[in-house]
Each structure stands twice: as C-alpha cells, then as structure tokens.
C-alpha cells in the first residue's frame, strides 16, 4: 500500500506562482518511492506545517523561484519547532535570491535560518533524492 511510503511535503512558498519545477520535483520524488504531498504554488508557511503534522511527513521541500526566498522562508524552522515538528528535515531550492548573488553567502544564510539543505538553481532532482534518502537513512 502506498500508505507505508515515506511522506514528503512539497510546495512553492509565498506569493510565487512558478509551477513547472514543482511538477518535475513531484514526479522525481514519486518515482523514487516517496509519497509526495504536493501543496502546489502560493503556499503560506502555515500550510507546510499543518500538512506535515497531519500526514506525519518526514521532510518538507520548499521551493522559491521568484527572488523573495529570504523573506518567505524565514521563520519556517521556528514555526516547525513551535508546532511540535521539531527538527523535521527542511530542504530549500529554486532561485532563492534575486540575481546572481554568490551562492556560498546564500547557502550560509539559509543554513542559519534552520534549513538542513540549500540548493543552487541548476540542481538535478536526482541529487536531491539521493540526499534525502541518505538523510533519512533509507
């Protein structure tokens, strides 16, 4: 039954409507054997958290493409802790900031915000799948 699959929450955060990457990631993680709970685009932080609680998900994959990632993603870790999700895995990717900022800076900033993994724009979904399996000990 698909119910025994590990669940991951996927969504594009904030006022961001870029839908294509979301579909590709959904496909990649589903094919890799995860049950993807896809929240789609325009997802507020609260919905990521609520969805993870109700479905007992093991990771939240946050996408931000339109350049406002820093504002939209800040505070999600605190919200998880507040809601009893504690140290659930948080991944973030897309085009996190505007323009071509040095990625090490971006990486550092998001790690400090409590994300476990932070991805550069050109990342291949397969790599993300491998990372998640490692992090979950699968």
């Amino acid at each position: 039954m698909e119910n025994n699959k590990v669940k991951v929450i996927l969504g594009v955060i904030g006022a961001d409507c870029h839908a294509v990457g979301n579909k590709i990631l959904n496909y990649a993680f589903t094919s890799a054997g995860f049950e993807v709970v896809n929240l789609g685009v325009l997802v507020p932080q609260e919905e990521f958290v609520n969805a993870a609680i109700e479905t007992d998900a093991k990771a939240i994959l946050v996408a931000s493409l339109y350049g406002h990632g820093e504002i939209d993603c800040r505070g999600l870790r605190e919200r998880c802790r507040e809601s009893g999700l504690g140290d659930i895995l948080l991944y973030v990717g897309g085009n996190l900031v505007v323009g071509k900022t040095d990625f090490t800076e971006v990486h550092k900033k998001f790690i400090e915000m409590g994300y476990d993994r932070v991805y550069e724009p050109g990342i291949l979904p397969d790599q993300v799948v491998i990372d998640l399996k490692n992090d979950l000990g699968l």
Binding site: M1, N3, A15, V37, V41, L42, N50, A51, E54
Partner: protein, 460 residues
Amino acid sequence: MNHILLIDFGSTYTKITAVDIDNEIVLGTARGITTVETDIMNGLNQAIDALFLKTGKLKFSKVLGCSSAAGGLKMVAVGLVPELTAEAAKRAALGAGAKIMGVYGNELNEYEIQEIAQLQPEIILLAGGTNGGNKEVILHNARMLTTLGKDIPVIVAGNKSVAPQVVKTLLEAMTEVVHTENVMPKLNELNIEPARETIRSVFLRRIVEAKGLNKANQFVDDVVMPTPAAVLKAAELLSKGTEYEPGLGDLMVVDIGGATTDVYSIAKGDPTKTNVALRGLPEPFAKRTVEGDLGMRYSATALFKAAGAKRIADYANVSAEDVEAYVEKVEANIEYLPQNEIEKKVEIAMGKACTSLAVERHVGQLETIFTCFGSAFVQKGKDLSDVKTVVGTGGVIVHHEQPKEILKGAAYSESTPEMLKPECPKYLIDEEYIMASMGLLGEVYPDVAVRMMKKYIVRG
C-alpha cells in the same frame, strides 16, 4: 388515496404536514407544543387534532419524522490540525444535522476532557491524521476520552492505520464505538459522506430512544434524521432534482431562528473569475454552517455585538440608540414582537444582519496577494457568486411580512467585494414551511418532493 404525514419535532413546536401524494398537494399543516419532557405524543396529538379540524379526519399510509427536540443532536468533533481534520470532522457533523457543542484539535488535555463531559454531547466524532499519517494524537485522544466518566457513543473517522487500536481503546470505556472511513484520507481531501451516514445511523439506533422520541413509534414509522439533515436533503433535492424531475440548479438556503442562523449551499463553488488559485480544504458540495451568535431573540445581544449597531441602524435607517433599545427589549422578553414602525424596521434589519453575516461566514473569500510584480488572487472556500436562487425558511422568515428584505442580506455587496456571495439571486420563500417535511418525503417519493417544492416554495 395515498396520504402521508410528515412531522418535525422542533425545540418548541411540533410541526406537522399532511401530504396527498397522488395530487401532490399539501392537505394541511398544524402545530402543537413539543412535549419531549413528558410524553412526545401529547404535543403531537394536539397538532393532529388541530390538523383534523381543518382537513377532517385523515388516514395515513406512512408517517415520518425528524427532530431537533431536546436541544437537537448534540455533538463534539475532535481532530488533529484545527484547519484540517478537526475542521473536516466539524463539517461532517454539521452535514449530519448536528448541533456542534465544541471542536477540539491536537492532544486533548484533562481540562478539555472535563469541558467535554460538561457539554454532554450525545455523539463524539473522533478524527485525526490522514491515512498513514499521524497516529499518536488520535491514540492519545482515544485514551483521554476513556477518562470522560461517561458512556457516550463515539464514531471513529481518522487515520485508518490505527483505527483498530483506537476502537479497542475506546471500547474499554464506551459501549458504542463505530468505525467508519477517514474524514480526510489524504491531505486536503474531504470525505465526509461515510461519517455523515454513520452519525445518522447512530442517531436512529441510540439517540431517538434516549430522547424519548421512540414513544411516538406506535404512531410514527420512523424518526429518520435530525431536522437540519432533512432541510439539507430537501435543499439537495430542490437543487439537483431527480432523474424525472429537473431541479433548480445551484442554490442557497437561509434559516434564521431565535438562537441561531443556518446557511446551506448546494453548489460546487469553483472559482468564477480568472486568475484565481484555489487554496485550503475542499468544500462539501452540500454544505451547512450554523452561527450560534446570530439569532433574533436568544442571540439578539450577540448579534448586536457581531454586526455592530451601525450596520443594523444603517439597514433600518434608524438611529443606533433605537437599535440598542430594541435589542434590549427582545432579549429581556423573547416573546416580544415589534409594536411600531421603528421597531418593525429594526426587526427586519436584524434579520438582514443575521443573513448577511451568516452568509459571509458560509461563502468563500477572495484574498489579493500583492507582490512587487502585481497582484494574484487566492480563493478560500466556495465561490457562490453565480448562485441564482436563495431560499428562505424557518419561523422568522416564513412568518414575516417582508421576508425578501431579510433575505437580501445574502447578496453580494460592494462594501465587501472579497466575499463571494450571490451576485444577483432571486429570492424564494418556503411559505408553507415545508422544507424539512419535503426532505423526509424525499426519502420515499423524491420526484413528488421536488415537484411539490417547486410548487410551494415561491417568489418572495
């Protein structure tokens, strides 16, 4: 000759409707006082005597009843995330015609258990977790419910992966534990029909007897459902019609009472505007909401607070002081009826405020998200702007001289453009007050029920 008697055991009155099935006419209606404390038959006999005075003696081939006597079907809904499974459980209970005493999310604590014990629900609906999702909380809540110190029927409609354990735990303290499908099998997927059906069957088996309604059994074939469920059923029939009798399409029903205002909508509620993203829990096609703070008498002060003196005064075109004075009067004396022009205007305005606020809470809302690059729209709840029919039922509307003025509160208003209320509906009035009866009749003669509603529920 095929005559059927339909009975609504209300909180105050027992209302009866005699129907001639062959000619599809209402033979007569009458009412008596609901006497559930002593013997329910006393009030019913009173109503029947009154009916026979009008119609002459009648014989009935079938007698069906619904009930909201003795406080209605009192329920508590328990889920996990307040916006998700707790909300889904609440909607299932509302759809089954229950009176919701409380909705609880997350792990229940001892205080909440005490509170639930005091609320004295007749059924508890326990949800929590999608299938394969969170298990701990529903198990915890089942254990907590066993400490209620009361034997209350519990319906389990949560994460199927732990349903057997949940049921087993509850059975340690409760005699009636029924398991049904999850109200939210997957995230944001609403599945309330099985829970609704289960509530109804527990109502039939347990509650009818507990409330003393079974005393009517020698006369009444079946008290089949709570009254609001009968109204919802009637609304569905009137909207969808049957195979042989077309319905009216999407519609909304408003029922204002002394204590509460009920709103029903039969419509999908998909976005009607372009560039709108739909978010949040999907909505039931047949949806019921109840507002406990919007009513004409017991809730007059609460309505005054919720609507504000200005809104009511503006509707009535009188001063805020006039409104306040009238609200005090009717709250002090619930039998009070308007005595002069100003009071009449305030009474209508109060009704309109009940309608307006209750419909605003029922319909979806359009939220504009402003980005640096323009705006995007997000819709939460049902878009009912294309609904073309609003039906008024219930004592307040049915017995009013200007019911349409009250119902106009349901319509879209430019002052609240984010509320997806019907834009230009026509208003129908349930003049003979037969909707609940038609819901019952629909159980046996759906085509007749649809045709009779189309005949008797007329333009206001």
